[in-house]
Amino acid sequence: MNQFQYVRPTKNKAAIDTVTKDPNATFIAGGTNLLDLMKRGVVMPEKLVDINKLPLRKIEKESGAVRIGALALNGVVAEDKLVLEKHPLLAQALDAGASAQLRNMATVGGNMMQRTRCPYFYDTALPCNKREPGTGCSAIEGYNRMHAIFGFSDKCIATHPSDMGVALAALDATVLVSGPKGDRKIPFVDFHRLPGDTPQIETNLQKGELIVAVDVPENNFAKHAHYLKVRDRASYAFALVSVAAALDIENNTIKDARLAMGGVAHKPWRLTEAEKALVGKPVSEHTFRQAAEVAMRGARAFEHNQYKLKLAPNSIVQALKTAAGLA
């Protein structure tokens, strides 16, 4: 790791000011992603602003939503009573991520901000537009088994690795941000960006902006929600494809639905059209299969991720079946 300056403010403002002013300063929360990248020389901040002393750990009810502090630990959120009761989908997604140890370190804010696991991004000896804009994307014609089938560009085809994010995308969450210009709210689905011509810019967070919390609004999905994660081993692996499925069912008819996918795009991939295809339909595998077909419109694969064109819809069906109690 490069040497850096280390500061640990106790006020949000101080933290924000430091990162705003210093072009090479960055926040550190759990450190589980940032330090990993620093060890490999992928990023080299010169100043780390440790935000762990900021008062951002609470999980509470706030104007009809569950408000989760940006520093709440992934493991704590996954086992929080309120979260389990109101948003079991989020708890499931968090539990599916990383390991017990990492979940004890990783924060909600850091989880959103984690970078892609594209192996070329991690290897400083190889070209990667995200790491070094303009050098080219090694994955497009390289090993792209883990890569995107939606929303990619000719500059980058990486996926976002977060599990939590997939649930938050499905659950209409909002990110609360505090920055040099004041506070603002960003709908979670607009928080991350598609790669376009600037794959190095992954979120709409501005320099110096601090995530303070995420709001997950009240809903009727707690009874019928399922997070399915398909991976190369039974645990402790990133998703090949994951699905967050939430249904509001009345008399065997789908009143409302939320659906999002992980492992398929540069951001957690909300499937609004497929949701529409579910609403008003009877609960059945047939309904789910049709929604999955809608969901897959526009998908395109590369040499090694062709399987996702099949695994993704299958997983949607399976997640919906499980959510509905059919599996």
Partner: protein, 748 residues
């Protein structure tokens, strides 16, 4: 065999003698040795696969805080023992390691090109990132699949027509081709990485200009000692190799590697000890791997299930500078009765680092193809695969035309089948379900030569009744020390608590390297020999003493038990070992005994056997496969320690689960560089992948193999597991996957 006591300690599930130091964190592995004034070394790897280094820019690194030196081919102290010829004039047999910092040539991607030495680990790591090299790149060949036509017969086989690596024909060559009932399939395994949990590490210390001590992660204490003595042209006895604890190795400690010499070079340059631990990425490029392999099996059989012919071909990858070979096709030559057997083994040199035997080495690769093909043939014949194997069971080695020393594989098969519930296996694939999950059963057989080498053990008895035994073997995890204590206890008639077995130092008498499942056989036999020699000395002292009631008694007339010697026909006449020493006024009684195999090995064919059964569940929509139950049975002679041996079998099964379902190192052949090179990308099985594993030992001694009746376990624990799982997946789904690992994408 009469003086041999199974009943006391051998066979018992004794706790490990090093259990306490391991569970308290007190065991010190190589990188944990602390020497005064030690510097930290970090290697910089090349970023091309082939070519020349044009320029190495080390300025920034040298200026970084704490940096003591940056070494590379231009400024590193010369290794006097390096072969000086242009390299490589011709490929070297296995054992000639890459000559680190020798010249500007690059033979593989991530080849060590510089060593950064600094006062702290952090500083060394950081400065290593500052070293920049530019290259004159040459076109490299790293694409295995596209170059299989360039595979060659190993030089060893070319030079010696009788060498086992030559083509083998029993009966008619490729006879299956003209048979009506036949199968022909190709199988591929990717490169697999040993990935022991302990990162390869060394502390190198020149105690004098010509005296070197290394604390080194190795399975070959003596081999390493010899290698460094050769490299540095110093007397062998001036090289001390210490490997007291080894954090797993699975084969990658069977060779000396460039990082070891690099650390020694660094220590030479600085005149201070150097510690060097590889990064996890470097574990993929600098310390060997199980080579990527292509295989083809053709097989024919009669309708009632007699195999008439097998042809098995294999191509394994090697480096451009060293010919690595292994016995991939051995099982095919001897396991089944087939009158016609053809095998052809080739290697494919690529611009990649040298492989090294990985647990169950080539045999595990070969068994994946052979045992899958057997399952395919059985399916064609509509015969139960267990029955098919029994129908083609050999009672005599058809390759060497010799009797087996012992073989209880059939018994093992029947016990295992019973345990897994083989009768639940549907003949028609894809027909058994548990809820949504498809269920299937599969089996695979494994075999490995019951090897034994020459080893020497020194045993010292002290007046307090304690015994210390020493040998330069290692314990990479199987529980060598524990087994040796047990063997010593029974053969010496001393309680195990009284015995200490010291290993992992070149100061101790020699042992072969810890590989090929031969440690218990080799070192255990020497322990036994030393025990007997000690008893003989005790006997002659006791019987030579005029006052003792033993006068005139012969060795056979004596019983040695509980630390005392007594007369068989007068058990009341006894003397403790301590008393004998005290009577003689001896501060200690010492023997050093060598033990080696004899001609019995020319008269018999000696193998260990295993058979593995797997129950798998596959989700038809998501393609996830889970092994839900495993039964692993071994016919490996007498089992010395049921607990540690059982654990070894379990570990082999877990390794096999990884081979079958999760492991594979992927190389981007445009760069000749691995893209999966850590534990997040290269998936070894975790707890959640591992079901309970039932282990069954036939536990019948083979006294032709060793005087204790033992045969090896380490390899057969893995050989045959991967095909058992692949076959179970076929049984569950009807999908035959011939390229490992069987990840979800291959099952949807």
């Amino acid at each position: 065999m009469k003086d041999y006591f199974f009943q006391d300690t051998i066979g018992k599930p004794m706790d490990r003698v090093d259990g306490r130091v391991k569970v308290t964190g007190a065991a010190k592995y190589s990188a944990e040795i602390e020497l005064p004034n030690m510097a930290h070394g970090v290697l910089v790897g090349s970023t091309i696969a082939k070519g020349r280094i044009k320029n190495i820019d080390t300025k920034a690194a040298e200026r970084a805080p704490g940096v003591l030196a940056v070494l590379h081919y231009q400024n590193a102290p010369k290794v006097p023992g390096y072969v000086q010829a242009a390299h490589p004039t011709e490929p070297k047999p296995i054992g000639q390691p890459h000559r680190v910092f020798y010249d500007d040539k690059v033979y593989f991607n991530d080849q060590p090109i510089a060593l950064v030495l600094a006062d702290t680990l952090e500083r060394a790591h950081y400065a290593a990132k500052l070293v920049k090299a530019s290259y004159e790149e040459e076109k490299h060949t790293t694409n295995f699949a596209k170059n299989t036509d360039k595979a060659i017969l190993p030089t060893a086989a070319k030079r010696n027509p009788r060498h086992g690596l030559n083509d083998y024909v029993r009966g008619k060559e490729d006879a299956y081709k003209n048979e009506p009932l036949k199968i022909e399939s190709e199988y591929v395994i990717p490169s697999e990485m040993h990935n022991p949990m302990e990162l390869q590490a060394i502390v190198a210390h020149w105690e004098a200009d010509d005296k070197l001590t290394v604390y080194d992660k190795t399975q070959a204490v003596i081999g390493t000692q010899n290698a460094f003595a050769r490299e540095w042209k110093i007397p062998v006895e001036n090289v001390k190799v210490i490997a007291t604890y080894v954090g797993g190795a699975f084969g990658n400690g069977l060779h000396t590697w460039p990082h070891e010499t690099a650390a020694i070079i660094g220590a030479k340059k600085l005149g201070r000890p150097v510690k060097l631990m590889l990064t996890r990425e470097q574990m993929f490029t600098m310390v060997g791997y199980r080579p990527h392999a292509w295989q083809k099996v053709g097989m024919s059989a009669t309708p009632d299930g007699k195999i008439t012919a097998i042809t098995h071909e294999a191509i394994g990858q090697t480096s451009s500078y060293e010919e690595f070979t292994e016995s991939t096709l051995q099982q095919t030559r001897m396991m089944y009765t087939s009158p016609n057997v053809t095998t052809r083994y080739r290697i494919l040199p690529l611009d990649i680092s040298t492989p090294i035997w990985m647990r169950g080495p080539g045999e595990a690769t070969g068994a994946f193809a052979l045992e899958s093909a057997l399952d395919e043939m059985a399916h064609v014949l509509k015969i139960d695969p267990l029955e098919f194997r029994l129908k083609n069971y050999t009672e005599r080695d058809p390759e060497k035309n010799l009797p087996w020393s012992t073989k209880f594989l059939k018994e093992a098969m029947l016990m295992g089948a019973e345990k897994i519930g083989w009768s639940n296996r549907p003949m028609q694939p894809g027909t058994l379900r548990d809820g949504e999950w498809q269920v299937g059963y599969g089996m695979g057989v494994g075999t490995f030569g019951a090897h034994r080498g020459r080893a020497t053990v020194k045993a010292t008895l002290y007046p307090d009744g304690k015994v210390v035994m020493q040998c330069a073997t290692t314990d990479i995890g199987p529980g060598t020390g524990t087994a040796m204590v047990q063997i010593a206890a029974d053969n010496l008639g001393v309680a195990p608590e009284q015995i200490t077995f010291e290993l992992g130092s070149s100061l101790f008498p020699p042992s072969p390297s810890q590989g090929g499942s031969a440690t218990v056989a080799s070192v255990g036999s020497a322990v036994r020999a030393a025990s007997i020699a000690l008893k003989q000395k005790l006997a002659s002292m006791a019987t030579g003493n005029a006052d003792s009631g033993f006068r005139g008694a012969k060795f056979e007339d004596l019983t040695f038990q509980n630390g005392q010697v007594s007369l068989n026909n007068s058990p009341g006449t006894k003397l403790t070992y301590s008393d004998i020493l005290k009577q003689q006024g001896l501060p200690e009684l010492e023997v050093t005994e060598e033990s080696k195999p004899g001609e019995e090995r020319q008269k018999y064919s000696l193998y260990s056997y295993s058979v593995h059964f797997a129950e798998v569940k596959v989700h038809p929509l998501t393609g996830q496969a889970r092994v839900t139950k495993m039964v692993s049975c071994a016919d490996a002679g007498k089992i010395v320690n049921m607990k540690t041996a059982g654990n070894q079998m379990i570990g082999g099964a877990v390794g096999g689960i990884g081979m079958a379902l999760t492991e594979g190192a992927v190389m981007d052949v445009r760069f000749g560089r691995y893209v999966t090179k850590d534990f997040a990308e290269y998936h070894v099985p975790v707890h959640a992948d591992t079901p309970p594993v039932d282990v069954i030992f036939v536990d019948k001694p083979d006294f032709i193999s060793t005087p204790m009746g033992t045969k090896g376990i380490g390899e057969i624990a893995t050989i045959g597991v991967a095909p058992a799982i692949a076959n179970a997946i076929f049984n569950a789904t009807g999908k035959r996957v011939r390229e490992l690992p069987i990840t979800p994408d291959k099952l949807i």
